[in-house]
Amino acid sequence: MATIRNLYTSSNLFRQLGYSALLIGFAQLGMAQSSKVWPLQPGIYFPQAPVPGKWRKSVGVVFTTTPPELTEEIRVSVPAIDFNLQRGLSKNFYLTGRFQTQFVQSNIGVGFRWVKPFTNRLFMSAGYDITGWLGALQIKDVFSSQAFGVETFPNVSVGYKLTRDLRFTFRTEAIVDLYYRSQVGSLAVVYNRREVNGVAFTFMLEQPFYHQRHVSVGVRGAYSNFNWQLWSLFDTFDRNLFYPQLIFGFIL
């Protein structure tokens, strides 16, 4: 029987990367600038409400990498078109809406955010989103299946204006399942269990990109039992699988 010689582990490298982040942090020492005025900039993730009565919109793409536990040797990054819509209701309260689609499967969500500014650079928000997803596949000799479900995402975001033009947001979400129904031919399965399905962490940078166009660029790591985009694989695991996502959006 063969033995594998583990001479070095990737955890060491991650530790080194952490140290690098520390070094970069210290390299910023002494570069502080005057922060008297922080202009309001468009942002979808940054926890700052739009001007009351105004809309904020974005269109972009989300790439989700499939976990090997489900797609085995086929490791792909699946794109979804991603629309966001937000409306300010008051200085610190706004509504959110999001629509993601891959045509054969789509997800629509609504929610709200309540914002608490701490300084002119540091903001926090608490929010609650509820989403419904739907998928349908009709392929000869392969699929005659549909599924839909409802999930909810209580979330907390911390936003920090790194400089005048660059805002960073860290968001933590709990992923809670409310309802799941799938159907193959005439047989259907319904799960009504209301339980925590996982958590997700988002790291997002928002800034001007070219001319007056602003963008959101970031990553989201979801650790969850179920991911709506992979409903057609009928995952049976009760394990939190890792779904890394790359998020890129143009703020309109």
Binding site: M1, A2, T3, I4, R5, N6, L7, Y8, T9, S10, N12, L13, Q16, L17, S20, I24, A27, Q28, M31, Q33, V37, P39, Q41, F63, T65, P68, R75, V76, S77, T163, R164, D165, L166, L205, Q207, P208, F209, Y210, H211, Q212, V215, V217, L246
Partner: protein, 229 residues
């Protein structure tokens, strides 16, 4: 022993790059002047656009395979190498703000091992060609001058495909390629040497996730501001 020596070398290269930063001298550009005017006006919605620039970066250096590797137990008298000489080519679009986007490719050795099986020589060699979409940002943009370290240091991250190449020499030669999703993260320091040219030092982490190939590289790069409009 040799690994430790080369690790030391890469730290020396890093320190050299940092010392270059301290000595850097470069007059301010008109572009920076305009940006400062924008700050003074306290607005980032400057209606003027550009200039936009396409920047081509090419470089090479040293790589170290930085994750676990496996040598079959059947191999005797194993000689293992984690080092390689990577090269990279990057084409970036520098718009009129901090964020830059582009494509990167190149080639890097991952690892290789030699040995014997029942008196027969064996050799396995693994390398990878990244094809990545990359985003990059200088640490300083609205502040500092061209002399400051923050303006010259940039962090870069990318994701995409790695074409992993494997060559086996044992009772014949087998050469295969396997694609793997992966990512890259890098930190660089750029030093101006002319109107359109800069040199840069970059420390970079390549990670081809599905095949679990990861390498840490240190590269010296030539940066060419090819087009501007």
């Amino acid at each position: 022993m040799i690994y430790r020596r080369l690790q030391t070398t890469s730290w020396v290269v890093l320190l050299l790059l940092l010392s270059l930063a301290v000595q850097a001298q470069r007059p301010s550009s008109a572009r920076r002047q305009r940006r400062l005017q924008a700050i003074e006006a306290d607005t980032l919605t400057d209606t003027r656009r550009g200039p936009y620039t396409v920047v081509v970066t090419a470089g090479g250096g040293l790589s170290y395979y930085s994750t676990h590797l496996g040598v079959p137990a059947a191999i005797e008298q194993t000689r293992l190498s984690r080092f390689g000489t990577p090269s990279s080519l990057r084409v970036m679009w520098y718009p009129d703000h901090r964020l830059r986007v582009g494509l990167e490719t190149g080639w890097t050795t991952m690892y290789s091992y030699r040995g014997q099986v029942a008196g027969e020589n064996t050799h396995v060699y693994v390398s990878a060609v990244p094809i990545l979409v990359v985003f990059s940002m200088p640490l300083g943009w609205l502040t500092g001058t061209d002399r400051s370290i923050a303006r010259r240091m940039a962090i870069t991250a990318g994701t995409g495909l790695y074409v992993n190449h494997s060559r086996l020499d044992y009772l014949g030669t087998v050469m295969t390629n396997t694609n793997s999703l992966g990512w890259m993260a890098a930190a660089s320091y750029t030093y101006p040497i002319g109107r359109r040219f800069r040199i840069a030092g970059e420390l970079k982490w390549f990670d081809a996730v599905a095949v679990e190939n990861a390498a840490f590289t240190a590269e010296l790069q030539l940066v060419w501001r090819a087009f501007s409009w």
